[in-house]
């Protein structure tokens, strides 16, 4: 019993948009094909959903490791949005990266429950490590991983760890078989 929808999957009640003419060299057509292909595939996979931009951005980042600048005009064209709207959404959310992360990623919780058990030392240590290996390790802060009784918490390569201290973090970041 769904209502008539716009091509972007939203309901027809939203304000009307100007039709864009067929410009000979639209920004989307100039996008890197290695980016445009996966982006169009992500759009196709989610087009039937309501308000599908976030699921599409997640899918693009899953596929490419980031949402490159060239994805913006393609998304705008496919979803009948302005490039400014896509850019606005993309840059609002912390999760979306413009460039792929390094081989190793660490997200250290800096919220209150982890602060109470020494998260700042863990975060400081992680930042020092990243500074000494800028091409290998990406360190981000995060506010709460939902592990507040077992802090300090950190996510290392996508995996959550509790009761982390600098020594433990160093072990977690040492590739298997590399232990001294």
């Amino acid at each position: 019993m769904r209502e008539p929808e716009l091509p972007d999957g939203t309901l027809g009640r939203r304000r009307g948009r100007r039709e864009r003419g067929a410009e000979p060299a639209s920004p989307a057509s100039r996008a890197d094909p290695a980016v445009a292909g996966p982006v169009r595939a992500a759009v196709a996979a989610h087009r039937g959903e309501r308000g599908p931009l976030l699921p599409i951005l997640h899918a693009v980042q899953h596929e490419l490791g980031c949402v490159p600048a060239d994805a913006v005009p393609v998304l705008a064209e496919e979803l009948n949005l302005s490039r400014a709207e896509v850019h606005g959404v993309l840059t609002f959310y912390q999760d979306f990266r413009a460039e792929p992360a390094n081989r190793a990623t660490v997200r250290v919780c800096r919220a209150e429950a982890c602060q109470a058990v020494g998260a700042e030392q863990v975060y400081g240590y992680a930042r020092d490590l990243a500074a000494s290996a800028p091409a290998e390790l990406t360190v981000d802060q995060v506010f709460c991983l939902g592990n507040c009784a077992l802090g300090p918490s950190a996510e290392v390569n996508g995996r959550l760890h509790g009761r982390v201290d600098p020594a433990r973090l160093r072990v977690l970041l040492t590739p298997a078989g590399d232990t001294a």
């Binding site: 997640h58 959310y93 429950a113 709460c144 507040c148 009784a149 959550l160």
Partner: protein, 501 residues
């Protein structure tokens, strides 16, 4: 004979080695059947391994992977004695003293086993609801006294009634699972440990208000919850539990503000998570402008129990206008952290000192922050405060989502107050000036106070700024950021003296 051993799949248990414990148990061979249950919420004992015996499920914990061989040799599979043996888990005083309603099945069942769910009381609420007229279901929820568990404490039944009364053909039920408050993890545990309960609650809400579509908005920081909910929804759909209710999972993208209900709706529509001005309230003009129920995970997860056992049973618990139970979450620097579900009215001191056992570091408790990053910092002299919405409001604090974060005497409360502004500056959606600019100015003013620069003038300025943010912000983010700041100033004034280098 095959022994059944339970090792939680909860991400908190996994964060301290539950998967490695399971791998070590594989060495015991085919005599062991491992069930990955939810966590019981006794998080300081994780990984908590349980073995089924004739006397009940016997627990061992915290079990390190290296302990497993010794445990097996000592007779783990028969519940034999060992230094890590805790006894029958259901009889542990920490658990036995609680009154678990929402968390009754938590840790008992295999979260993704539908037979387990039904055998332990699941679906009774939905079946009863579907035999009732929608208005009768709404009346039952209203009568139970259930208030929104997300923080604001608005009566759930009133909200549902508003949506039910709308004549629109298209209505939505949205579950807010953007549990971003530090110190709260009950929503995550529901989604990972008893996902069918949340699905059942959403299906009841959909029936009650006449909604055909539902969205579950889960923060991206909870990948295990996302995976578990997706799997559970698939199972529920295959079993026909959902009827024609179309339930979708949506994943956030790292924005705290999307826990604010209107920002969440914007995000669900594929936009920046910018707060909307209210009115119109979401119950009238919510997702895509349609009437929408927006409830927190715990609110919706509590609905099946209310429908199953009746409003009176739920209403019989609690105090004053805070009826039923609350799922308190003990975290931070605490010796025994985890989930305490009990009737409203338990004191803060009973939670922190009684259940929690004081700090993990063994130093004296100095401050407790209740209700997340926007909640007040309270000193131990306020430990008599009963945990109920009105008592907390009267004390200049808030219950919020029931998170309790403990700090020992090494905490610098001026730094915590500064962090409250810093966090607000980081996470503000930017729509209103008091929040967007006030948070940045707040950091600067506190820095000047701490540097001893025109201290009295700057303290007055800080008071003005807090008034302005409280009165002038569009939503609770800017409006409540002054709460931790003011409470720190009031109760821990000394920390705001100029620092001597």
């Amino acid at each position: 004979m095959t022994a059944t051993v339970y090792v939680p799949r909860d991400s908190a248990a996994r964060s301290v080695g539950a998967d490695e414990v399971v791998a070590a148990l594989a060495a015991a061979g085919p005599d062991v059947r491992v069930v990955r249950n939810g966590s019981r919420g006794l998080l300081w004992l994780e990984p908590l391994v349980e073995v089924a015996t004739a006397a009940g499920r016997v627990g061992y914990g915290p079990v390190a992977p290296g302990d497993v061989a010794g445990l097996l040799a000592a007779g783990l599979l028969t519940g034999a004695d060992h230094p890590l043996r805790l006894g029958v888990v259901d009889d542990l005083p920490w658990l036995a003293r609680q009154h678990r309603v929402t968390f009754a099945r938590m840790g008992v069942t295999d979260p993704l086993c539908p037979e387990d769910y039904v055998a332990n009381g699941g679906l009774r609420g939905l079946r009863r609801a579907r035999e009732m007229a929608p208005a009768a279901v709404v009346a039952e929820v209203t009568e139970s006294g259930l208030r929104g568990r997300g923080g604001a404490g608005f009566p759930a039944g009133i909200k549902w009634q508003t949506v039910l009364a709308c004549l629109d053909e298209l209505k939505f039920v949205c579950c807010n699972a953007d549990e971003g408050d530090s110190g709260t993890f009950a929503d995550r545990m529901v989604m990972e440990g008893d996902p069918f309960m949340l699905i059942e609650g959403m299906a009841i809400a959909a029936h009650a208000v006449g909604a055909g579509e539902g969205y579950l908005y889960i923060r991206s920081e909870y990948p295990d919850a996302v995976a578990t909910m997706r799997a559970a929804i698939g199972i529920a759909r295959d079993r026909g539990w959902l009827g024609d209710f179309a339930l979708h999972v949506r994943v956030g993208a790292g924005a705290y503000i999307c826990g604010e209900e209107t920002a969440m709706l914007e995000s669900l529509e594929g936009k920046r998570g910018m707060v909307r001005a209210k009115p119109p309230i979401p119950a009238l003009e919510g997702l895509f402008g349609r009437p929408t129920v927006v409830n927190n995970v715990l609110t919706l997860a509590t609905v099946p129990a209310i429908l199953a056992d009746g409003a009176a049973a739920y209403r019989g618990l609690g105090v004053e206008r805070s009826r039923g139970t609350q799922v308190f979450q003990l975290g931070g620097n605490i010796a025994r952290g985890g989930i305490v579900e009990t009737a409203f009215g338990v004191t803060l001191g009973e939670l922190v000192a009684g259940y929690g056992g004081g700090t993990r570091t063994g130093r004296p408790v100095r401050a407790v922050q209740v209700g997340g990053p926007l909640g007040a910092y309270l000193p131990t002299s306020m430990f008599d405060l009963p945990m109920d919405y009105e008592a907390f409001a009267a004390a200049g604090a808030m219950l919020g989502h029931g998170g309790v974060v403990v700090f020992d005497d090494s905490v610098d409360m001026a730094a915590q107050a500064r962090f409250a502004f810093e966090f607000c500056a980081e996470e503000s959606c930017g729509k209103c000036t008091p929040c967007r600019v006030g948070s940045v100015r707040g950091v600067e003013v506190i820095d000047r106070i701490r540097a001893g620069e025109q201290r009295d003038d700057n303290l007055m300025l800080l008071g003005d700024l807090c008034d302005l943010m409280t009165d002038g912000s569009l939503c609770a983010m800017g409006g409540l950021t002054p709460m931790p700041v003011r409470s720190a100033l009031t109760h821990f004034t000394d920390d705001f003296e100029a620092r001597t280098p």
